[in-house]
Amino acid sequence: MTSSPVHSLQDRPPVPGVGPLGWLRANLFNGWGNALLTLAILWGLVSVVPPLLRWGVFDSVVTGDAAACRAGDGACWAFIHEKLLFILFGTYPHDQLWRPGLVVLLFIGLFTASCDRRLWRRWLAPLWLAGIVAMGVLMWGGVFGLSAVEDGLWGGLPLTLGLATVGLVVAFPLSILLALGRRSTLPLVRGLSVAWIELIRGVPLISLLFMASVMLPLFLPAGVTVDKLLRAQVAFILFASAYLAEVVRGGLQAIAKGQEEAADALGLGYWQKMGRIILPQALALVIPPLVNTFIGFFKDTSLVLVIGLFDLLRTAKTSLSDPLWHGFYREAYLFIALIYFAFCFFFSRYSRWLEADLNRSRNH
């Protein structure tokens, strides 16, 4: 910065070929191999994009009935238009749909609020607790003049978001305890943690769900029933906790031993040491694999359709079984794929921002 102007002019890095042509040559056509690759990709785009646009936009039927759709060549967005409420909210009573709608908005609001790191220390936990209670009240009803809706009727987006969010909110703290337990010096704690993690990791999620829905009732005394949704939720929590625990343990492993020694030498107790020194560093390190697991877990909620819960995927499938609107698979699956993508993409962008934000001030 303080060098003379003559120097700073000469010390600039060499400027590559300027202008759009220079850019093309430097990036797309530098050498035979790359030139061929560029042409091949261009050809691929030309042959795929226009037909896709024709199908999805220009020739599509946005309003109208099934007959109009069958007459046209394009996508039948009228199908989505017709079935939108069922796909999003399942079999929830029709006159009460504002309730699951509000729940979805609450979820999005809570996700957005959670992005603000200033809220984390004090407000995040109470905020989510209050949010989840409010959502439960809205969905079940039976109080404050809301009519009661049993959870067998729930479905669609609120169910998917609820299973995933409640699952993660409970499984994440649990996974931290499991990871700490696995590194504990107490043999009993370590043994139990290892057994939990290995047993659950060794079983596919789908069999865990079957076990929860089919086998668990066999072990319960006659007359005692546990709600199907709750059983699926517990199976999810068990599953996610085991996977997340190993991710968290990876982070713990990466923290230098000196950090623990320094905390010990200052007289910090075990929970202070972990909560204030080790975990904040360990969790910041494993944000990418954590988010990876979160995203995978969010999409895995679609497996509950095998035990008869109406998640987003199941409601879309069910809407296809309407004889009037038979056969519009592409539209239905594309639509829910977009919904899944929107949430996962938001998640992944946020995690990248968070990583950058955490790294900005501290150069390790």
Binding site: A256, A265, L268, N363
Partner: protein
Amino acid sequence: MAGSRPQPQPESLMSEPAAPIIRIEGLHKWYGDYHVLCGIDLEVAKGERIVICGPSGSGKSTLIRCLNRLEEHQRGRIVVDGIELTGNLRHIEAVRREVGMVFQHFNLFPHLTVLENCTLAPIRVRRQPVAEAKAAARVLLERVRIAEQADKFPGQLSGGQQQRVAIARALAMKPKVMLFDEPTSALDPEMVNEVLEVMIGLARDGMTMLVVTHEMGFAKSVADRVLFMDRGEVVEQAPPASFFTNPRSERTKLFLSQILSHTGVPKNHG
């Protein structure tokens, strides 16, 4: 003594014996089958400055790490400030509150600012009010001449600055004893002095210090006693004047000749 400098204790300036703050009797430690400490006996008086030197693997770091139970000993007794170190967690934490430690690799908390590094333990362990802890930490950072860096993160400081923060962090707990485990060995040569100066200032103020170091200049100028350790034993201990001019054991002589010839102090070779 919140925020104020500890008063120099007059008796510590002379080598007059005071009540021992550390007592070690027949200390043995093994790593697996390897006998690291083979029967150490040591008493440290309040205000005494002890430098421990010796070849690597001699057990000197292990010895001071036993004093706040970062390492467990298997036989013998260690009593610090009237509390015996056993498996009792309450006793261990009580001792750790009174014993500050500075590490070779600083071990600052990289996710906390310099000021937060220095206030964490006083607030969480000593239950000091936040404002008071911050004020006290700023005084200490002033004392190690790094006050202007209070809001930076450790990763943004040089090694010498980090080590001075580490000293301030340990002092923030107002310890009765300070342990230094090779505090300058990981530093670039030009940063050694800034850390030694802080340590010399601390010694002048009457802090009880046990310093594992190869800085013989530091030993000469501030130590009351120099301990030479080899193969898990204290081979020789003496005031620096006689230790450097008139070492009695052959092992000490050999070690001194190696150390001093490497640090450039003129020395005749046999």
